[in-house]
Every structure is written in structure tokens, then in C-alpha cells.
């Protein structure tokens, strides 16, 4: 993957090619073994005026004439692209598949980018009415606080923990530590969410190479197995959901993933979850069954989700500190977990990590995709 951040000197194609070359090299391949590619990308048409990016990537990566396909599922584009690649290999259709994720977001100003990201919600019935994405997650936060007594300090603890993790990750956009007080005193964006409860606007790309385990072993000393891939959908508009204090699509995808991997939440050593806003991480760790419903905030405040805690959440720094180039995020989660399971996450390694879980959400929860990874 590339470093996540503000890449003023690099464009879309520079980022994605950089990540792709690193992934193919890491896999021990020359490149000509690869027979298909998938790329997660949410909004290149709006952000840089370029559509048809799968063909652009195939061309500039030197992958022609293999098929490369763009996958869009808002902020879950990367996770869903990974799932497409997984299915392509699992089906026997392809032996070597490269999966990338990329977003170039800093070529426009913040207001324009925010409007474009709003397209992940219901344009006619949420955005038109004055909704913003922080606003939608604030509506969830308010409801979670109302139902379970979650506090602003608990939300802040997510950001503090993820910045602490980010300070250990050289690929993270933000490597500075923050305090609960700094979060609480930062500018209100959509009450109760403040600036430090929100993930940033980020340029970046990530990529992985997939192959059947027996074949992968011949090329890579430490291949990591994807033991489950599950995805679920829910209503596009937040107001149509059964509850606002949970993301049901995550609960459903997680249940299927645990069944497929034949494991339970207690077996997870390390997880990368979708903390686009601090409340999202609290809901994620509950919906994934890692903590009981309503106790995610308390568990975070008590340090149970940090390095050395019961289960390390977002060792990369998460979307909050590592950054959130939307199409790349789901693939970055797979990269971070690969490093963790190989014992190569220097400075932030979870001791003897064997099983990792990634959860990637699109919009306010209309798409959720869960993958489980295991050391071979």
C-alpha cells in the first residue's frame, strides 16, 4: 500500500500503481501470472473526472489484456472488491487475482468532497433535506447514547486509542497522539460528533494478491488464508432502518462469516473495523459480537480494545488516524491484518495473532462486508 495522507505530488494512477507493484512483488510474482483484477473505487468520476478506471489501471499497470473490473459500494468499495476477487479464485475461474483499492480525494476542496461522499446516502430524501454524513452518524450516536448511556467521553476514547495506534504506523495519515480533552474541545461538526470524532479526507491506495492456498505457498513463505467472506445489505436511507443504534448488515455479515470460518467472536485476535466516525467503531465491535450490545463505549474507555487489550481494534489507526481514502480502506484493512498475522506489524504487533477480522461499511450501513483471515 501507499502511505495514506495528502499526496499533492501524486495522482490517481501513481498511487494505485505504487500499491499494485508492491503487492505483486510481495506475493513473489512477476505479474504475468495474474489473470484478473478488481479495484474498489467510490467516486473517481466526481473527484477527478475520470471514469473507466479499471481499464486505466490495467493499461498503466501493464496488465493488458486481462479483465479488470471496478467495484463501487461507497466506503465499502474496497472490501467488496476483495470479496469479488475472493470469489473469482474460490470459484476456480482464476488462480491469481490482484485486488486494489484507491481514492484520490485532495484534488477538490473539502466542501466539494463532502458533497460527493454524501452520495453514499439517499440523495433525494437525506442529502436534499440538508443531511451530511457526520449528521447521519450523529443521529446514530444520539440514539446509542439514549438507549445505552454511551457518553461523549466514550466516543472520544475511540479517537484517542486510534491516534495512539496510528502513531505506531508509518503508513498512517495522522501519527500524532491526542487526548480525550482535545477531542471534547474540538469544533462541533454535528452534535455530539466533533472534528476529532471524524475520519479525514485522504489520498491513498492499497492492494493484495489472491491465489489458492496450495499455490500461494509456492510463492510466499507466509501466505494468509481468507477463511470467510460475507456481505449484507440494508436500506439506503438511515431513517428506514429498524434501529439506529446498530448496523444490522454488519450483524448479518458477521454471523455468516463466523459460520463460514467455523469460529466465534472470542477467537478473533485482531480486528480492523470501519470507524469513519467514533460511534461507528463502538457499534462495529458490538455488532461483530466482540463486546455485548451497549458495552462497546465502556470497553473502549477502559482500554479493552487497545494494543494489549482483550482484542486489539484498528491497530493501523483505523479510518480515524490511518486515514480514509474511501475505495482503498477495505483493502488496507486486509493489508494491515496480513502484516499482523505474519508478525510483521512492527511497533504495533499483536502478540501471536492468529485470526484477524475486517469489517468495512458502505454509507450509513446499507452495505457491510466482513472477512476473516487466518495464519496458514
Amino acid at each position: 500500500m501507499t502511505k495514506f495522507g495528502e499526496h499533492w505530488e501524486k495522482g490517481f494512477r501513481d498511487l494505485v500503481i505504487d500499491a499494485g507493484i508492491k503487492a505483486i512483488g510481495d506475493a513473489g510474482l512477476q505479474g504475468n501470472e495474474i489473470s484478473a483484477g478488481y479495484v474498489g473505487n467510490m467516486a473517481s468520476g466526481s473527484l477527478i473526472g475520470q471514469e473507466h478506471v479499471a481499464a486505466l489501471i490495467a493499461d498503466h499497470m501493464g496488465l493488458n489484456p486481462i479483465p479488470v473490473t471496478r467495484v463501487e459500494a461507497a466506503c465499502a468499495s474496497g472490501g467488496v472488491a476483495l470479496r469479488q476477487g475472493y470469489m473469482a479464485v474460490a470459484s476456480g475461474m482464476h488462480d491469481f487475482v490482484v485486488v486494489g483499492g484507491v481514492e484520490k480525494m485532495n484534488d477538490l476542496d473539502t466542501n466539494e468532497v463532502s458533497q460527493i461522499l454524501g452520495g453514499a446516502g439517499d440523495q433525494e430524501w437525506e442529502l436534499f433535506m440538508g443531511a451530511t454524513f457526520p449528521g447521519l452518524y450523529a443521529l446514530m450516536a444520539k440514539r446509542h447514547m439514549h438507549e445505552y448511556g454511551t457518553t461523549e467521553e466514550m466516543l472520544a476514547a475511540v479517537a484517542v486509542k486510534n491516534h495512539e495506534h496510528g502513531s505506531r504506523n508509518p503508513y498512517a495519515q495522522f501519527q500524532n497522539k491526542i487526548t480525550i480533552d482535545m477531542v471534547l474541545k474540538s469544533k462541533v461538526v454535528a452534535d455530539p460528533l466533533k472534528m476529532f470524532d471524524c475520519s479525514p479526507i485522504t489520498d491513498g491506495a492499497a492492494a493484495v494478491v489472491l491465489a489458492p492456498v496450495e499455490i500461494a505457498k509456492k510463492y510466499q513463505e507466509q501466505p494468509i488464508e481468507i477463511v470467510a467472506s460475507a456481505q449484507a445489505s440494508d436500506t439506503i436511507a438511515l431513517h428506514s432502518r429498524e434501529k439506529l443504534s446498530e448496523i444490522k448488515a454488519t450483524q448479518i455479515a458477521a454471523k455468516r462469516a463466523y459460520e463460514m470460518a467455523k469460529i466465534g467472536p472470542k477467537d478473533v485476535d485482531v480486528a480492523e473495523v470501519h470507524d469513519c466516525f467514533t460511534i461507528a467503531e463502538i457499534m462495529a465491535i458490538e455488532d461483530l459480537g466482540l463486546f455485548r450490545k451497549g458495552e462497546g463505549g465502556k470497553a473502549t474507555l477502559e482500554g479493552r480494545t487497545g494494543l494489549g487489550g482483550e482484542v486489539a481494534i484498528n491497530t493501523s489507526g483505523g479510518l480515524k488516524a490511518a486515514g480514509h481514502p474511501v475505495g482503498a480502506t477495505g483493502v488496507k484493512q486486509a493489508v494491515e491484518l496480513t502484516w499482523q498475522l505474519r508478525g510483521k506489524a512492527e511497533g504495533r504487533q499483536v502478540a501471536d495473532a492468529e485470526i484477524g477480522l475486517a469489517q468495512n461499511v458502505g454509507g450509513s450501513g446499507a452495505t457491510s462486508v466482513v472477512h476473516i483471515f487466518k495464519r496458514v
Binding site: G119, E124, M129, A141, S240, L244
Partner: protein, 133 residues
């Protein structure tokens, strides 16, 4: 986000008159209206239903970093309202600030300007909500 004239025109029945629908099979009310009932699918039968526009606040926030076109209203209270017919909808709560609003408060829909394109352009109307004292 700016909307096209045809899009705004198509949405007039829903946005001006809160025209939704209800499934006769399962009695679920939908606003905005749906083309099929997701619960009953092929067995569903949808008929039009005019919503009264009354309900209560299910969740709310106060937005300080506005959506494009809402800059002059900052900060504004924004809510998901549970309508009395059963559906929930998103909208602005006017004439109120955060300390005055609670989950469960009664609200009613009011007809308001939502956005305008530019001084010479289209004015997009629709519903907002206000607290019922």
C-alpha cells in the same frame, strides 16, 4: 447537493403533499412511497396514503458543518421523525435549537423552502418540521 429541475418536479407529490403509500397485505406504511413492499414483495399490494405530517422525534442532531446550500442556516437541528402512520423520515427542525429538543418530542410538518439554485434559478420546496408546543 443541487438537484435537476426534472428531479425536483417528479418529487412534488411527495415533497409538497407528503404522498406515501401503504401495503394492504402487511399494513406497513411507506414514506417516501415504495414501488414494491420489501416485506411482502410479490404478495404485497400498495395503495396511496397521504401522511398527516405529524409524529415525534426519533433521533436528532445539530449540524454545525452544513450541507451545501444550507450555509445560512447553521447551526440547524436535523432529525429523524417517526410519523404517526409508522414510517420514519429525515428532515430539518425549524425554529428550534439543540437545548429545546428531546427524543420523543411531538412535531408537525411545515411547508418550507429547502434549497434554491441561485437568485434567478429554481426554488426547491418541501417539508420541514417544527415542535408542537
Amino acid at each position: 447537493m443541487k438537484e435537476s429541475i426534472p428531479l425536483t418536479w417528479r418529487r412534488i407529490p411527495e415533497r409538497y403533499r407528503m404522498k406515501g403509500n401503504r401495503c394492504l397485505t402487511c399494513s406497513t406504511a411507506y414514506f417516501p412511497p415504495r414501488t414494491i413492499c420489501p416485506k411482502c414483495r410479490r404478495k404485497g399490494k400498495l395503495e396511496f396514503l397521504n401522511f398527516k405530517g405529524t409524529g415525534k422525534i426519533y433521533s436528532f442532531t445539530e449540524i454545525h458543518s452544513p450541507a451545501s446550500g444550507f450555509e445560512e442556516q447553521v447551526p440547524y437541528v436535523f432529525a429523524i421523525v417517526e410519523l404517526d402512520e409508522g414510517a420514519r423520515i429525515t428532515g430539518q427542525v425549524v425554529d428550534a435549537h439543540k437545548p429545546e429538543v428531546k427524543i420523543g418530542d411531538r412535531v408537525e410538518a411545515v411547508f418550507r423552502k429547502i434549497q434554491s439554485d441561485d437568485p434567478e434559478g429554481l426554488i426547491h420546496y418541501g417539508f420541514k418540521f417544527r415542535l408542537v408546543k
